[in-house]
Symmetry: C2
Subunit: 229 residues, 2 copies
């Protein structure tokens, strides 16, 4: 079986990405990050999703993005709530929830692990439809990273061409939900909210919740997770 | 003043790189990593070097490379001692002290901080003469990273071209020592040894010590640090 490192946040997108990697015959090694995110309930979701998918090797790398600040997800900038969905993602500039160079850092770790394990494939659940204003969610960025991997690693120099797979890149959230349903992803295990309450219940109002709810609605399916009243 | 993020390990090379960044008119922001390195005395050296250079903002990012293993510098693989200098670096394959994707990870963090601070310049002390077999110490790698930075960050997309400076890339260790002497770097504050004793005294035998001692010898200067008898 071909090995792959799958970046697993615990969100809906990465759970579907993991299911796609399995469907395509890869043996997934799952990698999550404890980066001081406000919504740590995500990591619990990542563990549940990895377990449900039968992942045998799931690692959580401690990384410290707070050392630089600069994003609503790790810093003291308030998470924007109750923007209309129409404002999210398209042409309204890079949102405050953007974490500087985050996907570059995440992919670098995935690359390190792929070298150690001999995996020549990295999967990540980025999406350019809902997150068109995030520079590191675009084909051009992923291709640049593949090139970097080919010239900057021992395995690359020795001839292993690392492939970066982003199977959700051009899917709408509704398409992602439908794809997950087709692959029998248990959505109840996933977590998307940027601003859950102390019990981990999703707010239903932040960008991530709104996009998720809209995706389920457009897919004609019911989101099984709980939302605050 | 133009801001720059300078990767500062506490070794001789990064101390000279910092001095070059200052000479060239940059306001340096120094970035070190606590990555579970065996030789933690390096971090103390980094702090001393930053202070001596008058760096106003020096951050140490906690990162966890041990989560993957795979290198003599972070894992249980013995550090190779007493190889002849002739065996080091040239055409003998990638050494066991190579840390998978390390410079990719380090540069990713530097990129994150450069975005937050508005620095469009990153300095690092990599060297292709002594470390020709490290894939991530080559021009091709640095150029690939510059491209990645230009397509993968908010600042890059908004038009800031991040430059990666590696002023030591083509210098021999002797040239680096001479350059440092010219710029009045206090070599006594730096640390290079891969395998220091409990008091932080350098072994004089590992690759890093041998290269350093050879550099001072060829430069006709005396290394001011202490070595084990």
């Amino acid at each position: 079986m071909k090995r792959a490192v799958v970046l697993l946040s615990g969100g809906l997108d990465s759970a579907v990405t993991l299911a796609i990697a399995k469907r395509d015959g890869f043996e997934p090694h799952a990698l999550s990050f404890d980066y001081g995110q406000r919504h740590r309930v995500e990591l619990d979701a990542a563990r549940r999703v990895a377990q449900a998918a039968g992942v045998r090797d799931h690692r959580v790398a401690q990384i410290d993005l707070r050392v630089f600040g600069g994003s609503a997800l790790t810093d003291d900038i308030p998470v924007p709530l109750e923007r209309s969905v129409a404002e999210i993602g398209h042409g309204h500039g890079i949102p405050v929830t953007y974490v500087p160079a985050r996907n570059t850092i995440f992919l670098s770790y995935a690359l390190a692990w792929s070298e150690v394990t001999g995996a020549a494939h990295i999967f990540l659940g980025v999406n350019s439809v809902d997150y068109s204003d995030y520079p590191d969610c675009r084909t051009e960025f992923l291709q640049a990273f593949e090139h970097l991997a080919s010239v900057g690693t021992k395995s690359g120099v020795e001839g292993t061409r690392v492939r970066v797979h982003a199977p959700l890149l051009h899917l709408s959230k509704a398409d992602i939900v439908l794809k997950g349903a087709e692959l029998e992803v248990n959505f109840a295990l996933t977590h998307s909210c940027y601003d859950p309450d102390v019990d981990g219940i999703s707010c239903g109002k932040c960008d991530a919740c709104q996009l998720r709810l809209k995706g389920f609605r457009e897919a004609g399916l019911t989101d099984p997770i709980r939302y605050a009243a």
